[in-house]
């Protein structure tokens, strides 16, 4: 017995420490291969878990992460993936896996050879990257909106910043003399391929290559960027937490990253060009309702875009990829899913289009009033705050509007 047990233990240990031994991803149930920005991983974890358990049409998300512009390029040029990818397990495979805790429940690993992507994600307008619009045979769908923030350490006493201050701070660095952020070593940024940097650049009218600290980003994509430039959002978070001068420190983050770090970080309300006051993305510093993003008072945001392959008639080549994208973009699917995707999207700090009251045509562009085809504002507010909408959860008729997800939506 002992003879058998020792090799078994060694084998198990090797399996856990050598991801190269991972099983083929192709053996998973209906795998959809994605390359996404690291800001979208929280969404993939929650939606991927629900899809893996979606009895009417179970799908396994298999993915790698990279910067938005690199993701666009990868699917445009059909770059092949070799080696290990991450995937989201079903409850049948791992009942204890927690989609809300990356620390306690890391993603699983599987292996691919010359694998093409089914889906690529950009966490900002495709037009903000240098690769152009999708080529023939590919199609992009506009997904939930993501806000981007200027985060500061919890110990910082700062509460707001203006467009002009941010322009001098990131465009001139220390020489910009913007107090208290007058030490450019404490301006934590991301490389030029990342949506976080690009969205801020376009909102501040600073070309992405002209950020004072951009020289520290020369190793982008190789994992060798040097502070104060960080390849991943986690590097910015760590730098903000560990800075010896919290009053001078500021970092670029996606709001969903900040929402998971509220105990250690704060964000600055932002006063856009031409705006009379500064606003948080939420209605207050502590709320999570994204009210100011939805109604246009907080201007630094981008929609996510989801690119898939289509045939000459624009019909999706991979029905499961299309199914997943339709759920992400709040469209109907067939067969109907056994879950509502909106709480999952809202739960990671994203805003579905159906809850937006403003839109824009490109990153940093002017805002315009927006009326989505169907509204989910009541559901959104109920999920993030207190909804003042009439409930129709128990079959009560709506005095006005349409009953959807238990609330009387305006349309």
């Amino acid at each position: 017995m002992r003879r058998l047990a020792i090799p078994l233990i060694i084998s198990l240990a090797l399996t856990s420490v050598r991801p190269a031994d991972a099983a083929p991803c192709a053996d998973l149930t209906n795998p959809v291969f994605l390359q996404v920005g690291d800001t979208q991983v929280n969404l993939l974890r929650r939606l991927g878990r629900a899809l893996a358990n979606n009895t009417p049409n179970p799908i396994t998300f298999v993915f790698v992460t990279n910067g938005s512009c690199d993701n666009i390029n990868a699917i445009y040029t059909d770059l092949k993936i070799n080696g290990n990818m991450q995937y989201i397990p079903s409850s049948a495979e791992d009942p204890a896996w927690d989609p809300t805790s990356a620390t306690a429940s890391p993603t699983k690993q599987c292996q691919v050879t010359n694998q093409s992507l089914d889906v690529a994600n950009s966490a900002l307008f495709i037009s903000s990257c240098p690769h152009g619009q999708p080529p023939a045979g590919q199609q992009s769908s506009v997904g939930p909106v993501q806000a981007y923030v200027l985060a500061v350490p919890e110990a910082s006493t700062q509460t707001a910043i203006t467009f002009e201050e941010a322009y001098f701070m990131f465009g001139f660095g220390t020489a910009g003399m913007i107090t208290p952020w007058d030490d450019q070593a404490q301006h934590f940024i991301r490389p030029q391929t990342k949506s976080t940097l690009l969205t801020w650049a376009l909102n501040l009218s600073i070309p992405s290559n002209r950020f004072t600290n951009m020289p520290a980003c020369t190793g982008s994509g190789t994992g060798t960027t040097t502070a104060p430039c960080f390849e991943g959002s986690g590097g910015v978070v760590t730098a903000l937490k560990n800075t010896p001068t919290p009053e001078k420190a500021v970092g670029l983050l996606g709001i969903e990253v900040y929402d998971n770090e509220r105990a250690a970080l704060n964000i600055l309300a932002y006063k856009a060009k031409g705006q009379y006051f500064a606003y948080y993305p939420d209605s207050t510093a502590t709320a999570r309702d994204k009210k100011n993003v939805r109604d246009g008072h907080y201007t630094v945001w981008s929609p996510t875009e989801w690119i898939q392959k289509v045939d000459v008639n624009d019909a999706p080549l991979n029905a499961n990829a299309d199914y997943a994208i339709r759920l992400i973009t709040s469209k109907s699917v067939s067969p109907a899913a056994n879950f509502d995707p909106i709480p999952l999207i809202v739960g990671v700090g994203l805003i579905p289009d159906c809850a937006m009251q403003v839109s824009r045509a490109f990153d940093g562009g002017n805002l315009a009033r927006h009326t989505p085809p169907t509204s989910c504002t009541c559901e959104f507010e109920a999920l993030t705050d207190v909804s003042s909408c009439q409930s129709c959860a128990n079959g009560e008729p709506c005095t006005s509007g349409v009953c959807r997800a238990g609330f009387c939506e305006a349309f």
Partner: protein, 80 residues
């Protein structure tokens, strides 16, 4: 005289405001025109400027600072 000064400010402000027509390499003009008390928010916003200054119950924070390197005419200088 006061009215004349305000008119001048409004004319200058209108002349300098470009509402997002910057080319990527051009220094954008700063918008430093203060809101008048009766125009601190907009009830039925339609344009970009009205949307970002629409009346709201959200928390708003006053921040009026003049960066040291701002041009005397209130515009932003080119990046170094």
């Amino acid at each position: 005289m006061k009215t004349l000064l305000w008119s001048l400010l409004v004319v200058l402000g209108t002349a300098c405001g470009s509402d997002n027509n910057e080319t990527p390499d051009a220094a954008p003009p700063a918008d430093t025109q203060p809101p008048t008390p009766d125009a601190s928010c907009f009830e039925n916003p339609t344009t970009h400027k009205e949307i970002i200054n629409a009346c709201t119950t959200a928390q708003k924070i006053e921040r009026n600072v003049t960066p040291p390197l701002l041009n005397p005419d209130g515009t932003l200088p080119q990046l170094p």
